[in-house]
C-alpha cells in the first residue's frame, strides 16, 4: 500500500458534507418549483434526432488506391461479402495494440516510480506483456499490408475505439493515480481487446486465410492470459488493501 492508494479524508463532494447549505438548496427548489417554468415546444430528443437523421459516417475505410494495386497486393484474396469490414477491424485492432504498448509503458513507469509497490507487481512480466502488445501490433501491420491496405491509415473502427479509450491513458499517466487504479484501466483495455480479437478471428475464418487465422488465434490466447494476470493482480492488490 503506497501513499497514492486513497485513504479516508475530507472529501467534499457529497451533499451531507454541507447539511445546512444542502437543505437551503432544497428549500430554493420548493420556492421555485419546476412546473412554474414555461414549457417549451422542444424536446431534447427532437433536437438530437434532427442531427441524427442528417448525420454522415465519421469517416470511410481506406481502400487500395488502384485496381492494379488491389490485384497485386492481395486485396482480391479476401473472401466474404464485405471485405472492407475486415480491413476496418484489422486497422482497429492494430491501433488498439499500438495504444496498448503505450498504456503498459505508462503502467511500468508508474510502478518503477513507486518504491513501496506490492511485491506481486513483477516489472519483468509487465514488460513481457508490453512487448507482446508490440508484437501483435506488428503482426497486424503485416496482415494489413498482405491484404493490400495501408497500415498507416486510421480506420473508422480505430478512430471510434481511440475515442472510447481516451480516458485510459489519462488514468495511467496521472502521477496522482495509484497502481490499482491503473490496473483497473488496463483491465478495461484488456477485456475489450480480447473480445476484439474474437471478432477479428470470426471475420478471418470467413476469409479462409489459415495462416492469418492461426496467428490471430495465438494472439488471442496471449491476450486471454493478459486478462487473467491483470485481473488476478488487481484482485490481490485490492483484497490486500482491504485487509490493511
Amino acid at each position: 500500500m503506497t501513499h497514492l492508494e486513497p485513504t479516508m479524508g475530507k472529501n467534499r463532494t457529497g451533499a451531507q458534507m454541507s447539511p445546512l447549505m444542502s437543505a437551503a438548496m432544497l428549500e430554493s427548489i420548493k420556492e421555485f418549483p419546476w412546473d412554474t417554468v414555461q414549457p417549451t415546444a422542444d424536446s431534447a430528443e427532437r433536437i438530437r434526432l434532427d442531427y441524427a437523421k442528417d448525420a454522415h459516417a465519421i469517416g470511410s475505410i481506406p481502400m487500395p488506391l488502384t485496381l492494379k494495386g488491389m490485384a497485386r497486393t492481395g486485396y482480391e484474396k479476401i473472401k466474404g461479402e464485405k471485405p472492407e469490414i475486415f480491413i476496418d477491424k484489422l486497422g482497429e485492432r492494430m491501433a488498439f495494440e499500438r495504444m496498448g504498448v503505450r498504456l503498459y509503458q505508462a503502467l511500468i513507469r508508474k510502478c518503477e516510480m513507486d518504491p513501496a509497490r506490492h511485491a506481486s507487481m513483477d516489472l519483468y512480466r509487465l514488460q513481457q506483456i508490453c512487448d507482446s502488445e508490440l508484437e501483435h501490433m506488428q503482426m497486424l501491420k503485416q496482415a494489413i499490408e498482405a491484404v493490400g491496405a495501408d497500415p498507416t491509415a486510421t480506420t473508422p473502427g480505430a478512430d471510434a475505439m481511440a475515442v472510447a479509450s481516451m480516458g485510459l491513458g489519462q488514468v495511467l499517466n496521472d502521477p496522482r493515480t495509484s497502481v490499482t487504479q491503473c490496473l483497473e484501466a488496463i483491465l478495461i483495455a484488456e477485456l475489450a481487446d480480447t473480445d476484439g480479437w474474437q471478432l477479428l478471428i470470426d471475420l478471418t475464418q470467413e476469409t479462409g486465410d489459415e495462416t492469418m487465422l492461426a496467428q490471430f488465434q495465438r494472439a488471442m490466447q496471449e491476450e486471454e492470459v493478459h486478462v487473467l494476470e491483470i485481473r488476478s493482480l488487481l484482485k490481490e492488490l485490492t483484497l490486500g488493501k482491504t485487509k490493511l
Partner: protein, 400 residues
Amino acid sequence: MGLKLEENRGYPLDKQLRSWKDIVIEPLSKLDDDAMTRVRQILMNGIETEALRFSHAAHRMNPHIQHELAIIRRVEQHQATTINWLTPPDQSPLETTIAYEQVAIEVTAAVAQREPDPYLAQAYRFGLLEDFDHLYRYSALMDRLEGKDANNILQSYTDILPGRPTMVEHRHPIDDIRTPYEKSAADPLTKLHALILVGGEFQTHDYYMNIGPLFSDPLARQLYAEIASIEEQHVTHYESMCDPTESWMEKWLLHEANEVYNYYSCAEQETNPRIKALWEQFLDYELGHLQVAMEAFKKFEGRDPMQIIPSVFPDPLPYQSNRNYVKSVLAAEVNLSANGTAFVDRSQEHPRSVHYRNQLNASGSPSEAVAANYIWTPGTELNRPKYASKAVHAAKGAMI
C-alpha cells in the same frame, strides 16, 4: 481576378439572422476531409476570435460606434461558433494541436513568400521555424503518449522535423517587439498579413492555455505550458508589426477587410462543397460588415475608407504544402535569434534573453525531453527497427 469591393456590397447586416440549427452544423470528418479544409477552418476561427477581441477593446474606448460594434460582434460571435464547432468530437485535443501547428506553418510560409516588406518577410520566416519545431515536439508527444501518428492529421502536406529548438525560442519580452509597418506607406497586403498572423497565433495561445490542464501526464502539461509561452511571444511579435498610430477606426476597417479577404481566399479554394457554401455565406456577411464600417469611417473620420483598405483585394492566400520553402528557410535561418527589433545570429543575442531562457530551462526542458531521439516514422515510431526486434523477441517467447 481579385475581389472588387464596389461590385460586392454583401448581405445586409440586419438580415444576418440564424437559428441554433444553422449555427451548430455537422462537423468536418477527421478521416475524410482534406487537411487544408481543416487548416482553413482553424484559421478562420482565429480570424473571427481576433475580430471579437478587437471589437470589445474598441467598444471600451469609442462611445460613438458602440451600437455598430455590438451588432456586428454578435453576428461574428455566431460565425465563430459555427466555424469552431466544425471541429469533430473524435479529434482529440492533441490531434487538434497538431492541426493548429500545421495552420501556423503553412499559413506563415504562404504569408512569408508573398510579403512585400523584406523586414516583415524576415519576421514571418523567423516565426515559421519556431512553429515548425512545435509540430515536431507535439508529434513526438502524441506518438509516445497516445500511440498515434501525427501524419494522420497532417496528410503528408507538412514535414515533421526539428526546427529552431523550442528550448532556445524563449526570449526576453523586449526582444519579441518588432518594428511596425508605416501605415501610410505599407502595402495593403502587409497590413492584412499582420492581422492574419495575430489572429492565428492568439487563438493558438488561448487554445493551449485551455487544453494544457486537461492532460494528466506531467510532461504534456509542461510542454503545453512551454509552447503556450512561445505563442504569447508570437502574439507580441506579430501584433507589434501593426502600426500603433493607426486610429481605432482604421484598425476596425482593417479587421473587417481582413475577414473579407480570408473568407474570399477560403471560398476560392475550398474542396468540400458544404464548407465552400459556408465560406461564401460568411464572405457575404463580412462584406455587409465592411459596408457598415466604411460608412462609420466616412462619418466619424471624414475620410475616404479607400485610403485605408484596397478597392480590389489581393489574390487569395494560397492553401498548399510549402515543404521545399520551409526546408530552405530551415537550412538558412535556424540559428537566428532576436536582439531588440533586429534578427541576429544566436551568438549576438542580448544577455537579457540568455538570462531569461536559462532561468526558464533551469529545471530541464520539456520540449527536449519529449522528443529525445524522435524520428517521425509512418504508423508511429513503434514501426522503427529497434521496436521490431523487440517484437520478434516477444514472438519467440510467446505463450509464456
